[in-house]
């Protein structure tokens, strides 16, 4: 019975991801695959990079660096920095995964992405937190990026620009659709407003992905003073 429950919940994750972000992830995977071929990666190297790195943003950032002949250590350090935001997402998901065995936790850690994180939090806010849901989202997102990348690597420069179809807007739209209904108490609005100001300032002045980690880290500090203690009144 536990197994059936796991499977059902995982399918719900697959379905929720498929009906929202998967089409955009396929499109951006295809753009990435096309760019990777233009950078001079062979088909095998495209597949190797997807399987080994498994982090879309970092893979996009790496391509111009590869084209410019950047040294390996710089690629590795840049990947680490681009992914720093995952520390915070892992920390905030961790309490929901308390029941998992170590090896399952090790496997699920691999599936962490912005989209899987956001979809799972939205689900866990209204339903019992089940790691299987996260696993379903993460698996669907991985397959979507791989499939897109493979298609893009084969089709090359014939990939149309996803912006034409508004597919770039799916990512912020999903985040906003998850965030908007969850803002109820005044402290939540305060945290969101602080995060918005910090994220925009950092994104504008510094660029890259710094704004996510910096705003997450800094704006959450407001919660320490303003949020009620969990278990207390909401």
């Amino acid at each position: 019975m536990a197994r059936a429950g796991w499977r059902g919940e995982a399918w719900t994750g697959v379905r929720d991801a498929a009906s929202t972000v998967v089409p955009s992830v396929v499109a951006y995977g295809a753009v990435w695959g096309g760019l990777a071929r233009q950078t001079g990666l062979s088909l095998g190297e495209v597949v190797a990079m997807c399987l080994l790195v498994s982090a879309g943003t970092a893979q996009f950032v790496a391509l111009p660096m590869l084209a410019a002949g950047a040294p390996a250590w710089l690629l590795v350090v840049t990947t680490y920095i681009v992914n720093l935001r995952h520390y915070l997402m892992a920390a905030s998901l961790a309490p929901h995964f308390a029941t998992l065995s170590r090896w399952r936790l090790a496997l699920l850690a691999h599936g962490l992405s912005d989209e899987a994180y956001a979809l799972s939090l939205a689900r866990f806010a209204r339903h019992p937190a089940r790691p299987a849901y996260f696993a379903g989202c993460a698996g669907a997102l991985y397959l979507a990026f791989y499939a897109g990348a493979a298609a893009g690597a084969v089709l090359g420069s014939r990939i149309p620009d996803p912006r034409r179809f508004g597919l770039d807007f799916v990512f912020p739209a999903v985040f906003i659709a998850i965030l908007a209904p969850s803002l109820r108490a005044r402290w939540q609005w305060g945290v969101a407003a602080a995060a918005a100001v910090i994220a925009l300032a950092v994104a504008w002045r510094i660029g890259g992905t710094w704004h996510i980690a910096v705003a997450g880290l800094a704006a959450s500090a407001l919660g320490v003073w303003l949020a009620p203690s969990p278990g207390g009144r909401a």
Binding site: T20, L41, G44, E45, L52, V53, A58, A72, L75, V76, T79, Y80, N83, L84, L88, M89, A90, S92, A94, P95, A106, L108, A109, H110, A118, L121, A122, R163, R164, F169, P172, A173, V174, F175, I176, A177, I178, L179, A180, P181, Q188, V191, A194, A195, A196, A199, L200, A203, H211, I212, V214, A219, S220, A221, L222, G223, V224, A227, S229, P230
Partner: protein, 106 residues
Amino acid sequence: MRSGLVLTFAAMGVATYLTRAPLLFALARRRLPPWLARYFAALPIALITALALPLVILADGRPVPPWDPQIPAAVLVALLARRTGNLLLSVAAGVVLVAGVRAFLS
């Protein structure tokens, strides 16, 4: 396949995993002190706000041009999501608005 490149990719994968796994392991089975629990209660709101807003308001590091429908579409998504609670419907409405206005302008 160039083996040096594949080794680099593997090292990039390790670097990525090092950002994903450690805190998941460290915090999964631990009771947090109340102040840290409040911090983590605020973290999702801060992170998702930080993920979303720059994507709407900045394009490639610059404010989106005034004719781009992203900001009104984001407002529409937020209102629909609050009113209906339907993720798919809210996102689809926003995307249709963005794609429609862009198609009209191009």
